[in-house]
C-alpha cells in the first residue's frame, strides 16, 4: 500500500468514525424526545407506556366534562370503543367542547388516568386532527367521508 493511499484511508476512517459518533448522538437525542400519539384503544393495549409523556386524541365524551375549580378540569376521551379519563389543569382552548375532536399531551398514570399538561389548540371549529380521524376509523366510528 502506497503512503498516499494509506493516508487517504486513515483520513477516510477517521471521518467515518466522527460522523458515526455524531449521528449516534443525534439519534439517541431524537429517541429521548419522541412523543408518541395514541388513541384510547391503542393506549389500553400498550399499558406498559405508563409514566411516559405522550399525546392522546379522540372525541371528548358527551356528558363527561366537569370542572373542579376554575382551572382544573376532568373529561374523558373516547374513540367510540374505549374511554380514558383525563385531568387537566390550565386554560382550555377556545374551541374545546364535548363531542369534538381533541388532542392532549401529558402522562398516562398507573391508575389508568391521564394527567394532561397541554390541550393542543386548533383554530377551525370543523377541523379534526388527522390522528383523531385515523383513531375513529380504526374503531369504525368515523362518520365523515
Amino acid at each position: 500500500m502506497s503512503s498516499l493511499v494509506k493516508s487517504r484511508l486513515i483520513k477516510f476512517l477517521l471521518s467515518l468514525i466522527i460522523v458515526s459518533i455524531a449521528v449516534l448522538i443525534i439519534i439517541f437525542n431524537l429517541r429521548d424526545n419522541i412523543i408518541y400519539f395514541y388513541g384510547p384503544t391503542d393506549l389500553l393495549k400498550n399499558s406498559d407506556k405508563q409514566g411516559q409523556i405522550m399525546r392522546l386524541g379522540g372525541l371528548v365524551s358527551v356528558d363527561s366534562f366537569q370542572n373542579e375549580t376554575d382551572s382544573i378540569f376532568y373529561f374523558s376521551i373516547t374513540d367510540g370503543e374505549n374511554e380514558i379519563d383525563v385531568k387537566y389543569e390550565g386554560i382550555l382552548p377556545n374551541l374545546f367542547a364535548e363531542d369534538k375532536g381533541v388532542v392532549v399531551e401529558g402522562v398516562y398514570m398507573n391508575d389508568g388516568r391521564f394527567i394532561a399538561n397541554k390541550v393542543l389548540a386548533k383554530h377551525d371549529e370543523n377541523y379534526m386532527p388527522p390522528e383523531v380521524i385515523e383513531t375513529l376509523k380504526k374503531s369504525g366510528k368515523w362518520q365523515g367521508e
Partner: protein, 633 residues
C-alpha cells in the same frame, strides 16, 4: 366577461410556456433558435406572467365568484387588503406568485451586463426549463383561472388567522428568497456546463446569492413575528415542520454565501460550492413541497393538496438526478488545486460549513423522522422541541467560536497565539461581563454561559471591526455587511438564550374588577365589551396595567368570532419594551363569570428582532457593495 378573462389568462400562460421552450432551445442549438433573442423572450415571459397575475388580483378585488379560486378563498365582505393578500393565501395563487418571481429573476439576470453571451444563454435556458415546468404544473394541475358553472352569490372566505397585514408580505418575501436560489442553481449548472467555476463565476453569483439569502432571512423572520403575535402561544419559534422547512434552505444558503466568498478570494472549494448551490435550491423546493403537499400537520396547511405534492417531489428528484450526474461528469474539470493555510480564515469558514451541515442534518432528521414513521410504520408521533435545543446548543458554541476567530485570521497561515494575544482585551471584557451576568441572574448552566460568552465576544469584536479609523483619523471602508450580520447573529443568540431562561407565564381566571399580579405589575380588569367589525364580532377585555399605583398602559386582548368561514381566534395584546415584552392573551369564557387570561413576560424580544434585522441589513449591504474585485490578492 368572465369567459373572456378565462381565455385571455390561459392564453397568457401558454404564451409563457412557448417562450420558455424557445429559450431552452438555445442551449441545444443556438443556430436554429437565434431569434427572438434572449432578452426579447425574457420580456415575453415576464409580461405574460405579470399580466396574468394582475388579472388574478383584479378577479379577487372585484370578487368574481365565477372563478373557483375566488369562490373558495374570498368573500365580498372581506376588507380590501385581505382580498388583495388572499390572492396568494391559497395554493394556485401562491404558485402563480412563485412563478412571477421566477420569471422576474430570469428577466433581471438576462438584462445584466458584462457576462459572456454563451454563459448567459445557458443560465437563462436552465432557468427557463424550470419556468416551463412550473407553468405547465400551474396550467394543467392547478389552474388559478378555472371557471365554475354555478352562479355563487358569495364566496367561502379566507381563513381568519391569515387575515393579517403581515401575511400580505410574509409569503412574497419568503418566495423571493426561495426562488432567488433557483437563479443561483441555474448559474451553478451553467458553470458546470462551461466548466468555468472560478473567481469570475463567484463575482457574478455573489449579488444574487446574497440578496436571495437576505430575503429568505427576512421572510423567515416575518413568519416568526407573525406567529408570535397572531397565534397567541407566546412563542416565536416552535420547531414546527413548516418552520423547519424554511430553516433548512437558510442553513445551506448560509454555508453557500461563505463558500462563494472564499471562491472569489482564493479560487478554492469549487465542487463544494456547486454542491451547496444545488442543495440550497433543492431544499427550497422541499420547503415548497412540504408546505403545499398537506402531509404536514401544521398551522400552515391552509394551502395544500396531496396530489400536487407528487409533481414537486418528481421535480426535485429530476433536478437532483440531472445536476448530480452533470456534477459527477464535470467536477474533476472545475477543481483547481489551490491551498489555504491550516490556521487561516478559509479553514475557519470550512469548519463552520461542516457545523452548519451538522445542524442541517439535525433539523432534517427531526423533521423527516415523524413523516417516515407515519408513512412506513403507520405510527404517529411528534419530535419534542427539546430535541432541537439540546442537540444544536453545543454545536452553536463551537460555531460562535469560529465565527469570532475566523475573520481575525489571515487568508494564509496565521499564528493562533498571536491572534489570541491581539484579542486579549475582547476576551477579558466578555469574560467579565459573562461572569457578572451569570452571578447576578443566577445562571449556572454551562451551555448557556458559554453561548452568552462567545456571543458577547462575537458582538464586541464585530462591532469594533466595523468602526475602523486610519492614521489620519478618517473612517475607512470596512467589511460593514459582514460585521453587522455577525454582530446581529451574536445578539440574536444572546436574546434567544436569555429569553428561554427568563420567560415567565401566569394563568388566571378573572372577573371584572379583579387585580392580577405579574412580577411588579398589577393588572386591573376594567371591563369587557362586544365590538362589531365588518367581517367579525369580537369580545374585547380592558386591563389597566399599573406599577406602584401608577397607570402605565392599557391592554386589550380580544377574542374574534369570524363567520366566513366560522372560526374563533384569540388576539394577543403586547407591550413592547426594550428589555422585555409583556404579552396578554385571553380565552373564551367557560362560564359567564370569568375569562381565562394568560400573561407572559418575554425578555429581550425587541433585542431578538433587532439582531435579526441586523443580519438582514448586513446581507443587503453585502449584496449591493462589491468588495474585493476579481483576482485581488
Amino acid at each position: 366577461m368572465s369567459l373572456y378573462i378565462f381565455y385571455i389568462s390561459n392564453f397568457l400562460l401558454l404564451l409563457c410556456l412557448t417562450a420558455s421552450l424557445i429559450q431552452f432551445g438555445k442551449i441545444i442549438n443556438n443556430k436554429i433558435f437565434t431569434r427572438p433573442g434572449v432578452i426579447v423572450l425574457a420580456y415575453v415571459q415576464l409580461i405574460s406572467i405579470l399580466l396574468s397575475f394582475l388579472i388574478l388580483i383584479y378577479l379577487f378585488l372585484i370578487s368574481d365568484f365565477n372563478f373557483d379560486l375566488v369562490y373558495f378563498n374570498s368573500h365580498s365582505e372581506k376588507p380590501l387588503i385581505y382580498k388583495f393578500s388572499g390572492v396568494w393565501g391559497n395554493h394556485e395563487g401562491s404558485m402563480l406568485l412563485w412563478i412571477l418571481i421566477l420569471v422576474l429573476f430570469n428577466f433581471l439576470f438576462a438584462l445584466s451586463r458584462r457576462i459572456s453571451e454563451r454563459f448567459k444563454e445557458i443560465t437563462v435556458a436552465v432557468q427557463s426549463i424550470m419556468i416551463f415546468g412550473f407553468v405547465a404544473f400551474l396550467f394543467f394541475l392547478s389552474n388559478p383561472f378555472a371557471l365554475n358553472q354555478n352562479n355563487f352569490f358569495d364566496g367561502i372566505g379566507l381563513n381568519p388567522i391569515l387575515q393579517d397585514p403581515l401575511l400580505a408580505i410574509h409569503p412574497p418575501v419568503l418566495y423571493v428568497g426561495y426562488v432567488g436560489f433557483s437563479l443561483v442553481f441555474s448559474l451553478a449548472i451553467a458553470g458546470l456546463i462551461t466548466k468555468e467555476v472560478d473567481q469570475q463565476w463567484a463575482s457574478i453569483v455573489k449579488p444574487w446569492v446574497f440578496s436571495a439569502w437576505a430575503f429568505l432571512t427576512a421572510g423567515i423572520a416575518l413568519g416568526s413575528f407573525w406567529a408570535y403575535y397572531e397565534l397567541g402561544w407566546g412563542g416565536y419559534w416552535f420547531w414546527d415542520p413548516v418552520e423547519n422547512a424554511s430553516l433548512m434552505p437558510w442553513i445551506a444558503a448560509t454555508a453557500l454565501i461563505h463558500c462563494v466568498l472564499i471562491l472569489q478570494k482564493r479560487n478554492v472549494m469549487q465542487s463544494w460550492t456547486i454542491i451547496l448551490a444545488i442543495l440550497t435550491f433543492s431544499l427550497s423546493l422541499v420547503g415548497t413541497f412540504l408546505v403545499r403537499s398537506g402531509i404536514l400537520n401544521s398551522v400552515h396547511t391552509f394551502a395544500s393538496d396531496p396530489g400536487r405534492g407528487l409533481f414537486i417531489l418528481l421535480f426535485i428528484f429530476l433536478i437532483l438526478v440531472f445536476s448530480f450526474s452533470l456534477f459527477a461528469y464535470n467536477s474533476e474539470k472545475i477543481n483547481k488545486i489551490n491551498s489555504m493555510g491550516l490556521v487561516s480564515r478559509g479553514t475557519g469558514i470550512q469548519v463552520n460549513n461542516w457545523l452548519l451541515i451538522t445542524i442541517l442534518t439535525i433539523v432534517f432528521l427531526g423533521t423527516m423522522y415523524p413523516l417516515a414513521t407515519d408513512l412506513l410504520l403507520n405510527k404517529s408521533l411528534t419530535v419534542g422541541p427539546k430535541y432541537y435545543s439540546t442537540t444544536i446548543a453545543p454545536i452553536i458554541i463551537l460555531f460562535l467560536f469560529f465565527m469570532f476567530i475566523s475573520p481575525r485570521l489571515g487568508w494564509t497561515d496565521t499564528k493562533l497565539y498571536k491572534i489570541i494575544i491581539q484579542l486579549r482585551y475582547f476576551i477579558i471584557t466578555s469574560l467579565t461581563i459573562t461572569l457578572i451576568i451569570s452571578l447576578y441572574f443566577e445562571l449556572f448552566n454551562l451551555t448557556e454561559i458559554l453561548i452568552i460568552f462567545f456571543s458577547l465576544l462575537l458582538v464586541i469584536s464585530s462591532m469594533t471591526a466595523s468602526i475602523n479609523f486610519n492614521k489620519q483619523n478618517i473612517l475607512v471602508r470596512t467589511n460593514l455587511g459582514q460585521n453587522l450580520a455577525h454582530a446581529g447573529f451574536g445578539i440574536l443568540m444572546m436574546a434567544v438564550v436569555s429569553n428561554a431562561v427568563y420567560s415567565e407565564e401566569r394563568i388566571y381566571n378573572a372577573k371584572v374588577g379583579d387585580n392580577l399580579q405579574l412580577q411588579k405589575y398589577i393588572f386591573s380588569f376594567d371591563k369587557i365589551e362586544q365590538v362589531e367589525e365588518s367581517n367579525y364580532n369580537s369580545l374585547k377585555a380592558y386591563f389597566l396595567m399599573k406599577k406602584d399605583g401608577k397607570l402605565i398602559d392599557t391592554f386589550t386582548p380580544e377574542i374574534r368570532f369570524y363567520s366566513n368561514p366560522p372560526t374563533i381566534t384569540s388576539e394577543a395584546s403586547i407591550l413592547h419594551k426594550f428589555f422585555s415584552d409583556i404579552y396578554l392573551v385571553m380565552n373564551v369564557p367557560q362560564d359567564q363569570q370569568s375569562i381565562s387570561v394568560r400573561m407572559h413576560i418575554k425578555p429581550f424580544m425587541t433585542i431578538l428582532w433587532l439582531g435579526t434585522l441586523m443580519i438582514i441589513i448586513g446581507g443587503i449591504i453585502s449584496a449591493s457593495i462589491r468588495i474585493g474585485r476579481v483576482g485581488e490578492k
